[in-house]
């Protein structure tokens, strides 16, 4: 990693959990802008040059809270007829190794803009290396503060579990060496990973993921948001009755275009060589906007009519 999070957090920055007036900060808060971030490192680029993107083509711009979007204060400045799209997910949704305007969340916002004839602001609250715990933790606050019309959730694999410490910092551990979060010290990494693997149990991880998915559904229904989700997990048959299956795409972004972009590595992979590139993002944006249209055709029409009425008044 070339750019580590700016520093450890204190409890006041994370608390209160599930606040309806503030979204919790991430480890990348106060980071501003940077050219290299996470797995998209200069070192990797120098040994594996990308056919499409050069060193100056990508800028990671973080808001004060550490998310790759504009400041949350800006939400109140938008007109009433402006629409809002919220994306909460992992590194693909974050747009790792891609310019912000080539990430699928941004592209879906543009498609919804064309569809509704209204401006659509994209709020990208995704982070690299996160798990379902992060999504379920951030989503309630994001729904309350940003009041989005559309929501995209991008669930990563089930092995990732998030641990929040008494001092307000957090770490997410996966099934390998991967550790992501707000604090990066070898001592803490080792102790958390050891404890994480002591508790690791596949059924427990699966159940945790279904449980959090259902909890997210509860929050989304309560806020009446139009939502779709990308989730790579197989939901057991007995849980199907709880899930709006039409709104869940059970494939990951990397599965969608592997054959299609076999001969076009520049489109297939992002600048870091690990994450999805421009091609899969564009395809996923098409699929996602089609899911919105399929699942919410009536609601989108009603929304357009209501906004037209309000603006004419």
């Amino acid at each position: 990693m070339t750019d580590l999070p700016a520093g450890v957090m204190n409890a006041a920055e994370l608390m209160p959990l599930f606040s309806d007036v503030a979204i919790p900060c991430t480890g990348h808060r106060n980071m501003g802008k940077c050219r290299w971030f996470g797995s998209d490192s200069e070192r990797h680029y120098l040994s594996n040059r990308h056919p499409l993107f050069g060193p100056d083509d990508i800028e990671y711009s973080f808001n004060r809270h550490g998310y790759r979007c504009i400041e949350f204060d800006e939400r109140e400045r938008f007109d009433k007829d402006h629409l809002h799209l919220l994306t909460v997910g992992e590194s693909h949704a974050f747009g790792m190794g891609l310019p912000e305007d080539r990430s699928y969340g941004y592209l879906v916002a543009r498609k919804l803009q064309a569809l509704t004839g209204r401006g659509v602001q994209h709020w990208n609250l995704s982070q690299g290396g996160i798990g379902a715990d992060y999504i379920a933790r951030v989503l309630p606050s994001a729904l309350a503060v940003l009041r989005p019309n559309f929501v995209i959730l991008n669930f990563p694999n089930r092995h990732r579990r998030e641990y929040i410490f008494a001092d307000g910092n957090y770490l997410t551990c996966g099934d390998g060496d991967q550790v992501a979060g707000s604090v990066h010290t070898a001592e803490r990494h080792d102790s958390v990973r050891a404890a994480h693997f002591e508790h690791a149990h596949d059924d427990s991880n699966k159940f945790n993921q279904w449980k959090l998915f259902i909890a997210c559904q509860r929050h989304l229904r309560a806020r009446k948001a139009m939502w779709v989700a990308h989730a790579s997990f197989n939901i057991p048959l007995r849980f199907h009755e709880y899930i709006d299956k039409g709104k869940v795409e059970p494939r990951t972004i990397m599965e969608t275009g592997k054959a299609k972009y076999r001969d076009q590595p520049g489109l297939w992979l992002a600048r870091d060589g690990k994450h999805a590139g421009v091609g899969p993002h564009a395809d996923l944006a098409d699929d996602t906007s089609a899911m919105f249209v399929r699942e919410y055709a009536q609601e989108i029409d009603q929304l357009a009519v209501r906004l037209a009425g309000e603006s004419s008044r």
Partner: protein, 304 residues
């Protein structure tokens, strides 16, 4: 066990993959007369004014719960009223005889009110957590088909459950408790390691997040199945329409420990035999509070 092999083998953790009511964890060591904090040693040190050595018997059903067996005839009998309660040690009734327990007192009141025979299935266990309740909820709803489900979330949020490679269930208590028992490093090295890992990851943030996710899951499932249900939780969250809101219409306004009268130490009515858990008086008040809330919310409801 290698991770890949672990993922491919069939699981024995009932409640996660299976719909059947899982057996209570065998590691809890619930004795016939003594259990965890309600120990013979503690009793000798401080005898209880109301309950003697022989006053309490922990009679468990075939699945290890302190209630009647889960008989198919009872579940399918339309004339019976089925009450299911999920909770922690207060619901299990640590240090109390079964007839003084709020679950059974609530069942008596429901029976009196409805005129129907009530079967009370108490799925409360000592050291149970909100994660345990979430895991048990699906089999409890689908297998026992309750007419009234009550979720009594533990007042301490730091309890957790974990599983090992052999699919045994471990319950861990929050750190910093006065009567906390750690597994022996020599007699139970695995339990010791899991407990140490639990303590190293424990924090107020984790507890809050874990509890709130479990609550949201339980709320969704209960509403989805359209059953009559109520719950009680300690005071956490905004309680309003905030991001951490609770469903106020289904919430019993108080938790059981609020009924313990601080000044009354003589009568022995306030605390159970272990002097840690709620006694006869709080259980009676709590049963009344839950009953009143049930009547206010559902009227005769399914009891009719």
């Amino acid at each position: 066990m290698p991770r890949k092999a672990q993922q491919q083998r069939p699981s024995k953790v009932y409640g996660l993959r299976h719909s059947t009511i899982p057996h209570a964890p065998e590691r809890l060591h619930i004795g016939k007369r003594w259990c965890l904090t309600d120990s013979k040693k503690a009793y000798r040190r401080q005898p209880h004014p109301l309950f003697g050595k022989w006053s309490i018997r922990y009679s468990l059903n075939r699945h290890g719960y302190r209630c009647p067996d889960f008989n198919r005839e009872v579940i399918e009998d339309p004339t019976r009223f089925r009450l299911v309660v999920l909770g922690g040690s207060e619901t299990f009734g640590l240090g109390l005889p079964a007839d003084k327990l709020y679950v059974n007192l609530l069942a008596s009141r429901l029976e009196e009110y409805s005129g129907r025979e009530v079967t009370a299935w108490n799925l409360g266990l000592p050291m149970a957590s909100s994660s345990y309740m979430a895991r048990m909820l699906y089999p409890a709803i689908t297998e026992l088909r309750p007419d009234f489900l009550f979720l009594s979330f533990p007042e301490q949020l730091g309890y957790r459950e974990y599983f090992n490679d052999d699919d045994e269930v471990f319950f861990c208590a929050p750190g910093g408790m006065a009567d906390r028992r750690s597994p022996s490093r020599f007699w139970d090295p695995e339990g010791y390691r899991i407990d140490r890992a639990h303590l190293s990851l424990e924090s107020q943030f984790n507890n809050t997040a874990c509890f709130y996710h479990n609550y949201s899951y339980c709320e969704f499932l209960c509403d989805h199945h359209g059953i009559d249900w109520l719950y009680s939780v300690p005071d956490s969250g905004s309680g309003a329409l905030g991001a951490d809101s609770f469903l106020e219409s289904k919430r019993v306004g108080s938790v059981i420990s609020q009924f313990i009268l601080a000044g009354d130490t003589e009568s022995g009515e306030q605390l159970a035999r272990d002097f840690r858990h709620p006694g006869v008086h709080p259980n009676q008040c709590y049963a009344d509070a839950v009953f009143d809330c049930y009547i206010a919310k559902y009227g005769k409801g399914r009891a009719e």
